[in-house]
């Protein structure tokens, strides 16, 4: 087990090398001059050259890359051209918000999706199955910008149940930062007002985001359950008098979950990277909005930082997925 983890983590080095190399050179061949964006449109050539020099943009690309990687090794992501802040600071500010949103959406998708999947499999071709399919397909085929707006119209404007934007009210102080996840931090510090308020802000965007992921979970669970339930060992178990929840959860679901976890793990990665639209609609101060603004500004260091965080996230999630296999299927352990 330890060996696997160590091996996978060492692979991370190569992944990072590849990611930085490709993103760096790709973003530098795009025409456009970040120094120009920074000095404003009317600056003269001398000012422009000076800023270029300050940013190191007057150096050959490979020198810039080398400098960048050298900084990266000591945890320095460089200075954002747009915000003029160390990119590491910006990522620390914005990443937890995205993580909080994605995690919550993920949990909702699992908690709602798995039972619907099981139900659909067990009650195959009945009204339950069709209903489950309708619900989940509706989710995956409704674009987030639309379901989000409808959500806001209904739950904010008509019913007044939820706020329409932000992580917390202007009048409520944010909890002291521990993890950066407001709900968790306020819980840890016992700040109940912030807890209720941030949770209340989280629900609508998280539901919207999870709605789109639900179908993936539901359909996958249903398909694997159907497959597993048809297998001989289930029949043997039934013959041995094992039935009900025990059969369903301990014997069938456990095996059905293996392929599901792969799909779900990847979908969590896309949740992280793809929360952009949800974040925009709900004014959620996450990385999505930050990186979109950065791209428009040709803010290389920020784009690189974002890409690195997301790729590391992907690798770690994949690792977790593989480790979960080990827990679920002892055979793989050998």
């Amino acid at each position: 087990m330890k060996q696997i983890i160590a091996k996978r983590l060492s692979l991370l080095v190569f992944v990072l090398f590849g990611v930085t190399l490709i993103t760096f050179f790709l973003s530098h061949v795009i025409p456009g001059d970040p120094a120009r964006m920074m000095v404003g449109q009317r600056a003269d050539e001398a000012t422009l050259q000076e800023v270029r020099r300050q940013l190191g943009l007057d150096q050959p690309v490979w020198v810039q890359y080398f400098t960048y990687v050298k900084g990266l090794l000591s945890g320095d992501f460089g200075i954002s051209i747009r915000t003029q802040q160390p990119v590491a600071n910006d990522l620390i500010t914005f990443f937890p918000a995205t993580l909080e949103l994605a995690l919550t959406a993920f949990v909702i998708a699992l908690v709602v999706g798995i039972p619907i999947g099981i139900l659909s499999a067990v009650k195959k071709d009945t009204v339950w199955d069709h209903g489950g399919r309708l619900f989940s397909i509706a989710g995956v085929s409704t674009p987030v910008f639309w379901s989000g707006l409808v959500g806001i119209l209904i739950f904010y404007k008509l019913l007044g149940w939820f706020p329409s934007s932000g992580r917390i009210d202007l009048s409520v102080a944010a909890p002291a930062q521990i993890t950066g996840l407001y709900v968790l931090d306020s819980l840890l510090t016992g700040n109940w007002q912030a807890f209720a308020n941030s949770l209340w802000h989280l629900i609508l965007p998280a539901l919207t985001l999870s709605f789109a992921q639900l179908a993936i979970v539901t359909r996958q669970v249903r398909a694997s359950m159907l497959e597993v339930l048809g297998q001989e060992y289930i029949r043997t178990a039934l013959a041995n008098g094992i039935k009900g929840p025990l059969l369903l959860f301990r014997y069938a679901l456990r095996n059905a979950l293996i392929p599901t976890i792969t799909v779900v793990g990847l979908s969590f990665g896309s949740l992280l990277g793809g929360a952009v639209v949800t974040e925009t609609i709900f004014g959620w101060p996450g990385m999505g909005k930050y990186v979109v603004d950065s791209i428009a500004y040709l803010d290389f260091p920020a784009i690189m930082g974002f890409t690195i965080v997301i790729s590391v996230g992907y690798v770690i999630i994949n690792l977790l997925v593989d480790l979960t296999y080990l827990l679920l299927n002892p055979q793989i352990r050998e």
Partner: protein, 533 residues
């Protein structure tokens, strides 16, 4: 298999409890709270000493010596003071930190006498030393604003209340540049915040250290800016808290404005604004702005035919300006009359204005011997209306037999191409940083400014060069107007740009907000100190 239905019920029950534990519980938890929330805004909106302005995106650095982004000015302008300030809604300046000033005969020495009694937010008095410190700092940092102030040779402190700027050449718009954001006077104590010789840039990127009526109390990245009064400011403002709340989505902004959760919403597009005008509690403020929208015709590096002024004139005659502003800006715009917009001194109400005349346009093309002309139009997604504008122009040019190919690229790419002159026609906007026709005439037409810095038509005319350069060296306004008008006549006739329209500023504001004054030089900036609710 017989027992499955029973297990199913269990699963279902499990699913339901799981659902409810994840979703409905917090709902009930926060029920009482959300009620106070929705009542508070809709009844009396935000408290009467609190103003909430919805803005569309977060800002970059707030350092006045670095930022060239007008969007950051809404935070920095009320938190710093300048030697001179724009006067109400006019583009003229009035005393600010300085109570009076003199300029030497040759225009090279500007001496300012400071008002006493102004203090930075930490209580440090504003002195001539602070003024010198500010400009020395900007010149040492050498970023965007350096360009404007590179004309300063030296700043001399004569006494604690008197300071002299020595310029390297006569620069008549100098006074007006002092009223712009980069003229904000910075507390010299920023030196204590210096890191690795950055002259406090890192600190001022996120904090304010000025003597304006407000100070930045908190900036929650991606969420809001919170301004509170500078305790040492002589006349304490009525609004005790001002929030600039970041709401990227226009629909969310509109809903929150309608619900009274925000008082001013900046990011609602013009189509939605007209629909909103009917809401009882909201007023739509419409003012002519100095933002102009125009087309650069590449007169020397583009299509060969564009070197002929008759072809450029033909393009200017091909457009139905009325229909264009209707299609693109819902009519909230005015056709330009020459390069200097209405509202800025130097504007010539009697200048020639092109009108829609297809026959004339065709005749001009025939006279120039041009047939089957095919041009490309460069633009980006930077302005939401450019797509419609490009299509409208394409249709108009088709009527005179000119084929327009649309070339839409990313914003940063478009700027690179503009700078190098890789286009035939290109859409652009321009707004002045300081209130002087110099902003238009010298930037747009001086052949020293080829490319992004201003002369985006790559236009060169020796007579025009001579006129605008001369106008930039004398201080007599009447004399300068004369010179600029002569230059305008030429550049209107030679049509290196298609002068489209100047946009109206449209701002939906809650009717409870009082005292807001629009100044075309301060687009998107609020006179917070005089406002109330």
């Amino acid at each position: 298999m017989l027992h499955l239905p029973l297990s199913l019920i269990l699963v279902l029950a499990l699913a339901l409890t799981a659902c409810s534990s994840s979703t409905s519980q917090p709902q009930t938890d926060s029920q009482p709270e959300q009620q106070t929330q929705t009542q508070e805004p809709s009844a009396s909106s935000t408290p009467s000493d609190t103003l909430v302005v919805a803005i569309t995106s977060d800002q970059g650095t707030l350092d006045p010596a670095v930022t060239m982004d007008n969007a950051a000015w809404k935070i920095t302008y009320p938190t710093y003071q300048r030697l001179v300030e724009y006067d109400g809604s006019s583009t003229e300046v009035k005393p600010g930190l300085a109570k009076e000033w003199q300029v030497s005969e040759d225009g090279l020495e500007w001496t300012f006498t400071l008002n006493e009694g102004f203090k930075f937010a930490d209580g440090t008095p504003v002195t001539a030393e602070a003024v010198k410190f500010t400009f020395d700092r900007t010149l040492a940092i050498k970023k965007g604003p350096y360009d404007v102030y590179s004309v300063i040779k030296e700043v001399k402190v004569n006494s604690p209340t008197s300071v002299t700027f020595v310029l390297s050449k006569n620069f008549p718009p100098f006074l007006s540049t002092l009223a712009a954001n980069y003229g904000g006077i910075v507390n010299p104590k920023v030196k204590e915040k210096e890191q690795n010789g950055d002259l406090g840039q890192n600190y001022l990127a996120n904090n304010t250290m000025g003597s304006g009526p407000y100070q930045l109390e908190e900036w929650k990245k991606g969420q809001y800016f919170k301004l509170t009064p500078n305790p040492h400011y002589p006349n304490q403002p009525a609004l005790k808290t001002v929030y600039f709340k970041i709401i990227a989505d226009p629909t969310a902004q509109r809903l929150q404005l309608e619900q009274g959760e925000v008082d001013i919403a900046e990011g609602i597009p013009v189509e939605q604004l007209t629909a909103m005008g009917n809401a009882d509690n909201i007023e739509l403020l419409q003012n002519p702005s100095l933002l102009v929208d125009y087309v650069y015709i590449n007169t020397s590096r583009g299509h060969e035919a564009l070197k002929d002024k008759r072809v450029r004139q033909a393009l200017s005659y091909a457009i139905d300006y009325q229909a264009l502003t209707e299609a693109v800006q819902q009519g909230y715009a005015t056709q330009m009359r020459g390069p200097i917009p209405k509202g800025l001194w130097g504007h010539d109400e009697s200048a020639f204005q092109y009108s829609y005349d297809v026959e004339k346009a065709k005749a001009l093309l025939a006279e120039a011997g041009v047939t089957n002309l095919e041009l490309n139009l460069l633009y980006s997604d930077n302005k939401p209306w450019w797509e419609t504008e490009a299509l409208t122009l394409q249709a108009f040019f088709a009527e005179i037999g000119v084929k327009l190919n649309l070339n839409k690229v990313a914003y940063a790419t478009s700027r690179e191409m503009m700078d190098k002159g890789e286009f035939d026609l290109c859409l652009g906007v321009w707004s002045p940083d300081f209130a002087d026709p110099y902003m238009f005439m010298n930037y747009w037409f001086d052949s020293n400014n080829f490319g992004l810095s201003g002369n985006r038509a790559f236009y060169k005319n020796d007579r025009v060069d001579q006129l605008v350069r001369q106008a930039a060296t004398i201080n007599d306004q009447a004399e300068r107007i004369k010179l600029y008008q002569q230059a305008q006549q030429i550049v209107i006739d030679e049509a290196p740009y298609i002068y489209l329209y100047q946009k109206d500023s449209l701002l939906p504001v809650s009717k409870q907000v009082k005292g807001y004054v629009y100044n075309p030089m301060l687009e998107g900036i609020y006179n917070l100190a005089e406002m109330s609710k």
